[in-house]
Symmetry: C2
Subunit: 131 residues, 2 copies
């Protein structure tokens, strides 16, 4: 996992980002902010469809906030947008949404199966990634 | 960049792989083989559409082979398939294809733009990822 500060430049060009593409290793470790600029965590990894090559979820490791623990939140890619001025992903989630959002921690692991996948997409009111 | 040997298990479950999803950090560093089992390199990173969340290319760092240097090859995701017995991605590329495949090295960087993107997809005879 690398962060934006460890850019790997060749000449003046960062191989990990282009006009419409971004490297997976650049996404990992990138901070996640709320719309008001408050940092809430960072992207731990992307979960990709093995066949489709499409991002199903960004797993956000949550820094502890609102009295909630250091959990992992699978978030549909559509809910994240890169904000240049914040230098990270902005996620449009209310406190209330976050407090009951699907998550897992080491003692209560996430079951990556269709039932749980659907739970996340239903929660964020988005069509499932496999549809 | 992590490899398959550094699995991050919680209980008996690897958070980085499921029945149809795989973690970006698990793909990075994974070996790439030819169909005959010969190792030719490893996945350096995935290049994803910022908006679409779809893998446009896997960037393969090439280990030196056929007298070719240590270059980077952008390969469409569709050309890679995970081979359980090899423990890595199998890429169906002939020596001849590999010798003239689109690539870049530090002194001759890849221009990530539509013209170059198209060049790769044309080379591998696949419809462009943005179509």
């Amino acid at each position: 996992m690398r962060t934006h500060t460890e850019t790997e430049k060749v000449g003046s060009h960062d191989h990990r980002e282009t006009y419409d593409l971004i490297g997976s290793d650049k996404v990992e470790g990138t901070n996640v902010f709320r719309s008001n600029g408050e940092k809430i965590g960072q992207i731990e990894r992307l979960m990709l469809g093995k066949k489709s090559g499409k991002v199903a979820f960004a797993v956000m490791s949550f820094g502890g906030f609102l009295g909630l623990g250091h959990d992992h939140y699978p978030i549909p890619w559509e809910r994240l947008s890169f904000n240049e001025s914040l230098g990270g992903y902005e996620v449009n989630i209310t406190d209330r949404e976050l407090q009951s959002a699907p998550k897992y921690d080491p003692s209560n692991e996430w079951q990556w199966d269709r039932t749980h996948d659907r739970k996340v997409y239903d929660y964020y009111k988005l069509p499932a990634y496999w549809m």
